[in-house]
């Protein structure tokens, strides 16, 4: 799907969607939104980018392996739950502080970091599935630094062509 229109719009669309996903994540506490939806939006954004420019471009753009992002998210969420234990309250109790940044009171909570963890897990897991599925359609695995299980040594074949027998 290498249309000129998509290639032109995709970077802008992806950037906007990623920004929007962060907005949705942060407003989630009081308005419709949250980490899960935000993560889905971000994953869609990366999927669009991947459809337009190929898997390797996405992998370069996000720098880390998507599964590493998901792992970091899970760790962050678990740690956010653990902090409350050190404050002497049960696991997963939300803790809030209200620091003033530039004269504005900003509520910061372990609940928020937990939600960011959810966001990262969803982005990471879904992106990694989508990229892995897209991968072979566009280019062989070695080109983008992913270790394939078997070295590919073959001429590229059209994706949709049914197998010829006989």
């Amino acid at each position: 799907m290498n249309t000129l229109i998509l290639r032109t719009v995709a970077p802008v669309l992806t950037a906007l969607m990623l920004l929007f996903s962060v907005f949705v994540l942060l407003r989630g506490h009081n308005e419709p939104g949250g980490g899960f939806i935000g993560g889905l939006i971000a994953a869609s954004a990366l999927a669009i980018y991947g459809i337009a420019f190929g898997v390797s471009a996405v992998r370069r753009a996000i720098r880390f392996h998507p599964m590493a992002i998901a792992g970091a998210g899970l760790l962050l969420a678990a740690l956010s739950g653990l902090i409350s234990i050190f404050a002497g309250v049960p696991f997963m109790t939300g803790l809030w502080i209200y620091p003033e940044i530039l004269g504005v009171e900003v509520p910061v909570a372990t609940v928020m970091s937990f939600d960011i963890g959810v966001y990262l897990v969803v982005v990471g897991a879904i992106t990694s599935i989508a990229l892995a599925l897209e991968q072979e359609e566009t280019e062989p695995a070695e080109a983008i630094g992913e270790q394939p299980l078997v070295r590919v040594k073959r001429p590229r074949k059209p994706a949709h062509k049914p197998k010829e027998r006989g």
């Binding site: 506490h29 997963m92 809030w96 394939p148």
Partner: protein, 785 residues
């Protein structure tokens, strides 16, 4: 004061574990010297237990502990009486010598630290096993000894024989352990207590319970596998693959006696019944005789000792179950004597092996001059094992004969067994402790000379104790034998036997034993050849049976796997959905819980009707789609329409998520479809299509009925009200849905995102495996002209 002492005991009981943690680091720092230092852990524990001797001898018990799971009446507690104290002293005392011996035996081995850590870990587990008050705690440590035994047998893990032996020991003793657990649960249910200390003194009608026999058999399965009773004995000789310190410690002096310990511990509550007094002597007797006969045919010093260990364990089980106070006294004396002389003999065999490079008795001789101290230890231990006067083994044997020789036919039968068994063990004792040292000097792979102090200290001390214990039998009985026998029989027992021979039937039987034994020793080669012939005619034993069992199990699981995992996606999906439809439809039909006819809403808004229509159009488009890709995209139409309907009914979060999920699932489904390389069109035959349609409609119908039924029930506002009331005040958030996700039910969410992550990993792995296989297949195809 009492609390301090209790805390001290608690720390002492954990000393071996502490040693195990320190062992690898210390060995790296200090090399072989680390063993001398690590031996302090069991040595201190030994001294601490010695301070209890007086108290226990006076008939008291020492208890202590902490609450563990109070709601289940489980406590982390210990309980020391004559029985557990004697075991604790044996474990820590012999353990000290073994740690020192290991330092010499494993000198220069790259993994010496790991070895010492395993030995100390085992020591801690064994110690807790015998002092545990709660029998579930006993079980935990029981299994831990099996696991440490596995690690130690398989220590030399690069040899296949060692790995097989380790696995076999684990399977046999671990399997027995599971039976034991079931038996303990029975015991708990019948008596209502989990503490051994309470159990022992309870008049609880256990013997009258209808489940007594089941409990007994399960407990015996545990004890017999652990203590290598026939027909579960085969793992013990194979366990000789372990380094010799392990054989000396685990597989003769301590771990294999755990089963005997359990039987002795349960004797007051489960003993004195016909089943007990038939099963125990029967299996014990068979084990005794088969063990000694198998020992005769061996030429390997360690295997000879291993089979006599098996025989001795049989003798102990037989005596424990014989059902007379004298028999228990004999068991106590023999248990202590056996730990001393067998531990010493194993260490002697190990030292001989270490210094000469072989432990084949036919290739050893004349080591007397080269290894005088080892020879002295071996000879002293052999005297005790042979039961010569002035040695502890003699006391045990006299007591055995005194207990068994009661005159009735049953007693005569078992006396005969004991005489034959003891005579053969007499012959083996001297074949190990005397034969390699006398006669003409035989060339050995290594130039033999006396080993370092670490190698002879242990056997010398154990062998000397066998002599001293008999010379000062009064003291030994007062502090060890009598309290232990009292604990086993749950009444005051005073052991009185001394080393001065008394004329009478027991002495006569002793003399017969020695003459017969000496005869066998004199003609050992002939006896061995005879046994080899006999056993060859008997055919394969349970060791081979174990192999067949394991390979049969693997074949069986292969058959089952091929049945439930045929590897065709259609079959999985069909089976899943058929089951789903049945689950949804059958219960409402059977229990008459079908929902009533829904009432048509009075007023439907135009936009609602419009989106319902769009959803329907989407469905029709799916069914009529010419190729798969169109069908997938059409499915998206229906999904978006539903999302809008959610929005219309005031669920923005849900609708929002539905939009995103629909989008992504269409994208991912399309990607999957292209990867599967299905033909774009659907080529199912009509019959197949009809069947699939029926299943699909049944599932849909089932869900519809379920939802209608759920809506019929009156809505409970309790949770809604709670969340609405507290979302803002407690959790500082206005969006109730999100507050529930991240705060009220945050732990659920944590679990869910973990599942998302794992699913992602699984999908990734599947795609990669699939890709690899397809590439390989195409390469093969491409190779053809």
């Amino acid at each position: 004061m009492a609390a301090n002492l209790s805390a001290l005991t608690f720390i002492v009981l954990f000393l071996p574990f502490l040693g195990a943690v320190l062992a690898p680091g210390l060995t790296r720092l200090m090399g072989d010297k680390a063993a001398w230092f690590l031996a302090l852990a069991p040595a201190l524990a030994f001294l601490h237990f010695c301070t209890f001797l007086g108290e226990i001898a006076a008939g008291e018990v020492v208890t202590g502990g902490y609450a563990w799971v109070p709601s289940f009446n489980l406590s982390f507690s210990w309980f020391l009486d004559g029985l557990s104290l004697t075991f604790a002293l044996l474990i820590t005392g012999i353990g000290t010598l073994i740690v020192v011996y290991s330092g010499g035996y494993m000198k220069g081995h790259p993994d010496q630290g790991r070895f010492l850590a395993f030995i100390l870990l085992f020591m801690g587990a064994m110690l807790w096993l015998v002092v545990s008050d709660s029998f579930f705690m006993l079980f935990v440590y029981w299994e831990l000894t099996s696991i440490t035994s596995f690690l130690l047998i398989g220590f030399d893990h690069e040899r296949e024989a060692a790995r097989r032996a380790a696995l076999q020991a684990l399977v046999v003793t671990g399997g027995g352990g599971l039976c034991l657990l079931a038996g303990l649960v029975f015991l708990w249910n019948i008596t209502g207590v989990t503490q051994l200390s309470l159990l022992v003194h309870l008049e609880n009608g256990l013997r009258e319970s209808p489940f007594y026999l089941a409990t007994l058999i399960l407990v015996l399965a545990g004890a017999f596998t652990k203590s290598a009773q026939f027909p579960f004995h085969f793992w013990l000789p194979n366990a000789m693959e372990a380094p010799t310190p392990v054989s000396a410690y685990l597989h003769s002096a301590t771990m294999v006696k755990a089963g005997v310990y359990l039987l002795m511990r349960l004797n007051p509550v489960m003993g004195q019944t016909p089943a007990w007094e038939i099963l125990l002597p029967f299996f014990g007797g068979i084990t005794l005789i088969s063990g000694t006969l198998l020992a005769i045919r061996q030429t390997d010093l360690k295997l000879m000792l291993a089979y006599t260990t098996m025989a001795s364990l049989g003798l102990l089980v037989m005596l424990t179950g014989f059902g007379a106070a004298h028999a228990v006294e004999a068991a106590v004396l023999y248990l202590v004597a056996h730990s001393l002389f067998k531990g010493a003999l194993f260490m002697v065999a190990g030292a001989v092996d270490h210094e000469t490079g072989t432990r084949d008795v036919t290739r050893l001789g004349g080591l007397k001059a080269a290894m005088p101290i080892t020879f002295a230890a071996g000879l002293l231990a052999a005297f005790s094992m042979g039961g010569l006067p002035l040695f502890f083994g003699f006391l045990a044997k006299e007591e055995i004969y005194a207990a068994l020789a009661a005159g009735n036919p049953r007693a005569v039968f078992f006396t005969g067994l004991a005489v034959v068994g003891n005579a053969l063990m007499f012959a083996i004792a001297f074949a190990v402790g005397l034969k390699p040292f006398i006669g003409p000097r035989v060339e050995t792979p290594k130039q033999a000379h006396e080993g370092p102090a670490a190698l002879w200290l242990g056997p010398v001390m154990l062998a000397a104790l066998g002599l001293l214990g008999a010379l000062f039998s009064g003291l030994a009985h007062q502090y060890v034998s009598s309290p232990m026998a009292s604990a086993i029989t749950d009444q005051k027992v005073v052991v009185e036997i001394t080393t001065v021979p008394h004329l009478g039937l027991p002495l006569m039987l002793s003399v017969i034993t020695m003459i017969f034994g000496a005869l066998v020793y004199w003609r050992l080669d002939t006896a061995r050849a005879l046994m080899v012939r006999v056993l060859e005619n008997l055919g394969p034993g349970p060791d081979r049976g174990f192999d067949h069992l394991v390979s049969g199990l693997i074949r069986l699981s292969g058959v089952i796997i091929r049945f439930v995992q045929p590897g065709r996606l259609e079959i999985y999906v069909t089976a899943t959905f058929i089951l789903l439809a049945l689950t949804l439809l059958v219960p409402p039909l059977v229990f008459g819980e079908l929902p009533g006819m829904p009432t048509w809403p009075e007023k439907i808004l135009v936009q609602e009707a419009a989106f319902l229509l769009i959803a329907l159009i989407g469905l029709i488009a799916v069914l009529r789609a010419a190729d798969r890709l169109t069908a997938i995209v059409s499915l998206g139409i229906q999904g978006f329409a539903v999302a809008v309907i959610f929005l219309l009914f005031g669920a923005p979060d849900l609708s929002f998520t539905q939009f995103m999920v629909e989008t992504l699932s269409v994208v991912i489904l399309a990607l999957v479809m292209t990867r599967l390389r299905l033909s774009p069109r659907d080529h199912r035959p009509v019959g197949q299509m009809l069947l699939d349609a029926v299943i699909a409609v049944a599932c849909g119908l089932g869900f519809t009925l379920l939802l209608l039924k759920s809506v019929e029930a009156p809505f409970d506002n309790l949770l809604t009200d709670f969340f609405n009331a507290y979302s803002k005040t407690i959790a500082h958030g206005a969006n109730v849905v999100n507050v529930i996700i991240v705060d009220f039910r945050g732990t659920d969410t944590l679990g869910e995102i973990a599942v998302v992550m794992i699913t992602g990993l699984a999908v990734l792995a599947l795609i990669r495996v699939k890709a690899g296989r397809r590439v390989a297949a195409e390469d093969k195809q491409g190779g053809r002209p």
